[in-house]
């Protein structure tokens, strides 16, 4: 990465540096390491290899996304972190500790350090909001006074004051997920696992929950590992992402990089809904070979690395389509330009690519 060429946006991922420094200074809280992880389910229907050869590190304090098609193994991977699933092969280390050998009491202690939220919220219908959120404290034997204060504190954090005595069935989907988040946070965990936490919510509510998660990550510094099948969720809040395909890692890296230059077909397929196609009238007229007088259609990708010199665009170049998003402080997207025949695309940027030629009537 050539520092000078990167478009750095104001809120650029400042979390990364302090977190990794802290990791070296003391024992990291909230790190996860998968070593050669494999998971095979054995059922009457036969064996299913859900995960294979997963090697991956999740850093303390980051928001890490897991994405892939349905059945790719996302939940199996996530659930191995709090040992809701046991690995068939390999190891899972939480803060450097192999969790395979934990006994029941130690496992309970581990799970109190790891919160989890679910697609369908999984709230107890027979308990009020307050009782749901207080349950982890109650079974951990936290004294009542302290428990009451902590429940009030997390309910304030998730914006649910005043709903303490309501039963979950009377809440909206977004409110239910807030209760889920409050319940997951009340033990002050160092890791929060989210399994499709926004998949049952409408887009607006999804956005508000994602903002809440990002806020929690910044304020409390906890590691968030989240599963989604929507790339837009990853783009919104994740720092790094892994793409799973048939139980293997297709690719992994910082979100802006994976978005800017997806290497794997699975990633490209997942990104397709986010990428706007060329305008209909343009793509219909596009041809590979130039006819006399044709203009060039040029794609100018922004990959967060070499930002093209916009001054060049002033010389008779027309903007046809633009889609550039800031992802974790990097500009990612593309411009589609109409340029006169004599212009050399490389003069715009080394990454510029000619998509074809079109006749222009003006």
């Amino acid at each position: 990465m050539t520092g000078a060429a990167v478009i750095r946006l104001p809120q650029a991922g400042a979390h990364a540096a302090p977190a990794s420094q802290a990791a070296q200074a003391r024992r990291p809280a909230g790190s996860v390491r998968f070593q050669g992880l494999g998971k095979t389910y054995v059922s009457s229907a036969g064996e299913v290899q859900a995960l294979q050869g997963i090697n991956l590190d999740i850093e303390p304090g980051e928001i890490f996304g897991i994405i892939g098609r349905s059945g790719a193994g996302k939940s199996s991977l996530l659930r191995s972190i709090n040992r809701l699933e046991r690995p068939s092969e390999g190891r899972v280390l939480v803060d450097g500790e192999d969790i395979a050998g934990l006994g029941e009491a130690e496992l309970i202690r581990l799970r109190r350090r790891i919160g989890m939220i679910f697609q369908h919220f999984n709230l107890l219908a027979a308990k009020t909001v307050r009782e749901n959120v207080a349950l982890p404290l109650r079974i951990a034997g936290v004294p009542q006074d302290e428990a009451r204060a902590r429940v009030a504190e997390v309910l304030r954090l998730v914006g649910l004051e005043g709903k303490e005595d309501t039963y979950p069935s009377r809440l909206s989907g977004g409110q239910k997920q807030r209760v889920g988040i409050a319940r997951a946070l009340v033990m002050r965990p160092e890791i929060l696992l989210c399994d499709e936490a926004t998949s049952a919510l409408d887009p607006e509510t999804t956005l508000s929950i994602l903002r809440l998660l990002r806020d929690i990550n910044r304020r409390l510094g906890l590691t968030i590992v989240l599963i989604t099948h929507e790339m837009s969720v990853i783009r919104e809040i994740c720092h790094r992402v892994v793409v799973l395909e048939h139980g293997r890692i297709a690719e992994t890296g910082p979100v802006w990089q994976v978005f800017a230059q997806p290497q794997h077909a699975a990633t490209q397929a997942l990104l397709a809904p986010l990428t706007r196609a060329l305008p209909e009238d343009l793509s219909a007229r596009l041809r590979d070979r130039a006819e006399p007088g044709d203009w060039q259609v040029i794609e100018l990708p922004f990959t967060g690395e070499a930002a093209p010199d916009l001054a060049v665009l002033a010389q008779g170049v027309r903007l046809v389509q633009a889609q550039v998003d800031p992802i974790d402080g990097h500009a990612v997207g593309r411009l589609v330009l109409l340029a006169p025949p004599e212009l050399d695309p490389a003069s715009l940027s080394p990454n510029a690519r000619r998509l074809g030629h079109v006749a222009t009537n003006d």
Binding site: N82, L84, E104, I108, R109, R111, R112, I114, G115, M116, F118, H120, N122, L123, L124, A125, A126, K127, L135, P136, R138, I139, A140, Y167, S169, R183, A184, M187, L193
Partner: protein, 217 residues
């Protein structure tokens, strides 16, 4: 009806009430742990004990397959062993509760199985022990179904207690047989029927109301 007959009916009603409540109490106390065990010790459960699970399952099915009147007679030696007698209210409580427990346990089992596995998983994720899951998730979430099942159990127990009355347990069934049937006293027969219908209705309405209140949350 003579005053003596009215006294007799009141006494019989109280006997039936005692028989049914004692047996229902025992069925409740024994049936819920049995149901929890049947649910949690099966395949995929969190107290896995497949053999004991199968054995208990078979035992429960066995008791449920035997008609109450047959069970009543077959259990006479056991009843004598426990209560020292084979007639009277307490002698009836033994076969009544033995027949009601497996019946109720199966109904409670169904309700417990219907608890969303996602809730168990959520409880595991917050560091709940298996006992905590039973205590805070399975039982409270299945409660409406369990109460509904208990209501059905008590109603069918009222019917069975009348049957037990026929073989010397006392209670309303005894009065109906001895006076209503053997002495052709239609008034007594009608009185017994009215009392039984009222009793069943009260139980059913109370149970239904409790279930409705729990489900309305």
């Amino acid at each position: 009806m003579s005053p003596q007959m009215i006294d007799r009916l009141i006494g019989a009603f109280l006997d039936t009430l005692l028989m049914v409540s004692a047996s229902a109490g025992i069925a409740l106390l024994a049936g819920i742990p049995l149901a929890v065990f049947l649910v949690t010790s099966g395949p995929g459960g969190f107290f896995p004990a497949p053999r004991l699970n199968r054995a208990l399952g078979a035992l429960v099915n066995g008791f449920r397959a035997v008609p109450f009147i047959v069970l009543l007679v077959a259990l006479i030696p056991f009843t004598r062993l426990v209560t020292g007698t084979t007639i009277g209210v307490w002698a009836a409580v033994v076969p009544l509760s033995i027949s009601a427990t497996p019946f109720f346990a199966r109904i409670a089992e169904v309700s417990l199985r219907e608890v969303d596995p996602g809730l168990v998983e959520a409880a595991q994720s917050i560091g709940a022990s298996r006992w905590h899951i039973v205590r805070h998730v399975l039982l409270p979430e299945a409660l409406p179904g369990i109460i509904g099942g208990f209501t059905i159990t008590v109603v069918s127990m009222i019917g069975a207690s009348a049957m037990a009355g026929a073989v010397g347990a006392g209670g309303l069934g005894d009065v109906a047989i001895r006076y209503g049937y053997q002495r052709f006293d239609t008034t007594v027969m009608v009185a017994v029927i009215v009392i039984l219908v009222a009793l069943v209705s009260v139980v059913q309405v109370t149970g239904d109301r409790a279930v409705r209140r729990l489900r309305a949350r």
